[in-house]
Symmetry: C2
Subunit: 350 residues, 2 copies
DNA sequence: GAAAAAACTTGGATCGATCCAAAAAATGCG
DNA sequence: CGCATTTTTTGGATCGATCCAAGTTTTTTC
């Protein structure tokens, strides 16, 4: 064990083996170009110097490719937060599947409030999981790397994969209407941090009352279906809250006492509503129907299992990965949702 | 929109702004060294050329640091497989938490049968999630990057974080012995792919009958506790199988008909045993007690919930990440397990 | 055995940036 | 204003490898 072998480079090996750098490089990267005995000699010298092959850093500079896809979690989430979020996780799973096919690595990049993760990440492409602020996307554009945005469409020359949330929500409400429901309550999202907020019926719903772009689509979907039965979305009581906010379920049941069905823009809030209903002696689905959004594992395990709209996160991830791995013309994909019927919806009590 | 701005570099900006490369570099990396008006001019020229700041590739070559931790999943698993595995996932969660603290990215590197992922990954350090073959670890050593191995200890100069599986399994069996159990069955792991294999009582258990290094530890733990009551581990019927192998539960119940408690080296097989027992009209824990290993979410949700040994995956991940993020002297950490008492164990039927 | 063809090596340029010592410009001070 | 400081700017060297055209050696062929 020699002590000074700390940093052998191509050059050191070349000198020690008395050949040129190019030859050493060829030994490791294009062995067919080099005579067998030279290969052997160089290899021997290399290993005696503790040199184990080209340093990826130097190689990268020429080759340009990293064989890694960068994923930017939503907003200012850390990596751990993101992994714990089932919606993000499903997308990640889809991305990983495609990366596995081509042997690419997956880099999860926490871009905490413009820490410049996107600017300096060593990846070949980016996938923005849910679109929050333009800054990071702009960084990606400037780096001239292929990128794709999930669940939003920030501009004409940007790849995007979205889910047809509007049609999905339309189908879900149609399902409830067909079961006879006419009185609803909505649990939507908050755009920023904050306590739950109630929107009484009779006032026009503005986009910013709902959350992100995708959540606005959901509201439109609800509205489309309700309109078919002559119900105005503006007359449906609505609570705006974070998915993990425990008070939201209580608030919607308090403020929409006549509702026979609750439309939740998240699966978690759907589950919360079921729980809260139970506490009040309401039996789901006998007394109250509930529909969620996103098919997270918890939705199948709660009691009763939640009817929800599967937003096809895994498929979304797969498509996104394919787009950036084989970049070509700008693509804008739209995925259709599936309504997963479980036991939280039933015919309206007569 | 100019067409030819495809690849502006520092040099192009320098020429266009009529300053030196160094100045441009300083504008972006050490603005305090540059006069305000020059900064402005350079920035203007840069953005007109579509140059958005130093390319990470070039920067990396000098700086050396990538701010990313590389994680190598066990064996030849793909990334998606790994993410779906709860044990791996928990470790990843712990690693991510620590990376979030320091703002590092996480790179999941699929090293499919020596594809050289480790050799060429652009990371500052490696975490080997469970140790399978020496080749990748050797690659990491040769690259002179800090690395840590989970659940194994391949040598004296290697960082490792292990779990005291032996003590954990000892405690689990002790728990069963205290409940009066004396007749056991074991479900262990297969070392390679293959069908389940039954080991009749009365033959010495060899390490390779059990699985990986960590699984051998589990067996020793079982044996330690059993010996305290004068029972030889060699007399306990054992089935070797993959965690997802459905036949293993049937096999152990067939071949250890007198057993009042089943020790499973995985949580999945523990759950399978509960299911299989149910099918045979045995009520767990009244007629049969079952103990698993690893506290995966399914363990809490099955019926009855599985008593199992929590191998502290998240904590393991945290420790591993801290070791490689602040490299110093070689560290060998050992984490103690916790026995999670649920409803799958009870006093032996009298 | 000489010319032609093939096989193997080599040095210089390059990838895109940063570091550093020295030069140039700006500022301070008597 | 002239000299000493301080602040800015600069070019050359460097990080670690790869590419490529040109040079050298070996083998083939007649």
């Amino acid at each position: 064990m020699t002590q000074k072998t700390s940093n052998a480079t191509l050059l050191h090996v070349a000198r020690a083996a008395d050949v040129s750098r190019s030859t050493v490089s060829n030994v490791f990267s294009h062995p067919s170009r080099v005579r067998a005995e030279v290969i052997e000699k160089v290899r021997a010298v290399a290993s005696s110097l503790g040199y184990s092959g080209p340093d990826p850093r130097g190689r990268l500079l020429r080759a340009g490719k990293v064989h890694a896809v960068g994923i930017i979690p939503p907003g200012t989430w850390g990596i751990a937060d993101s992994l714990k979020n089932p919606v993000f996780f499903q997308q990640l799973l889809g991305i990983s599947e495609v990366c596995d096919e081509v042997g690419a690595s997956v880099l999860i990049i926490p871009d905490k409030k413009g820490s410049g993760g996107v600017q300096s990440a060593l990846v070949d492409s980016f996938i923005f999981s849910r679109f929050d602020q333009l800054a990071e996307i702009e960084s990606a554009r400037l780096r001239r790397l292929p990128y794709v945005v999930l669940d939003a469409d920030p501009g004409p020359d940007v790849n995007s994969v979205r889910v047809n949330a509007r049609a999905g929500c339309h189908a879900a409400v149609r399902h409830l209407l067909d079961l006879g429901h006419r009185r609803f309550g909505i649990v939507s999202f908050l755009r920023e941090f904050g306590p739950p907020h109630f929107h009484p019926p009779g006032r026009p719903r503005r986009p910013e009352d709902v959350g992100m772009e995708i959540d606005q689509e959901k509201l439109r979907g609800y509205g489309d279906a309700l309109a078919e039965e002559g119900i105005s979305i503006d007359d449906v009581p609505m609570v705006q809250a974070h998915p993990w906010e425990r008070d939201a379920a209580r608030m919607i049941l308090d403020h929409a006492p006549g509702a026979t069905a609750i439309l939740s823009m998240s699966a978690m809030q759907g589950i919360r509503v079921i729980e809260e209903a139970w506490l009040r002696g309401l039996v789901v689905p006998r007394d109250l129907s509930v529909v969620g959004y996103n098919d997270i594992p918890e939705a199948a395990l709660c009691n009763p299992p939640l009817t929800t709209i599967d937003s096809m996160g895994t498929e979304k991830g797969r498509m996104a990965a394919r787009i950036v791995l084989e970049p070509g013309a700008i693509q804008k994909k739209v995925i259709e949702t599936r309504l997963v019927m479980r036991a939280s919806t039933a015919r309206v009590p007569s």
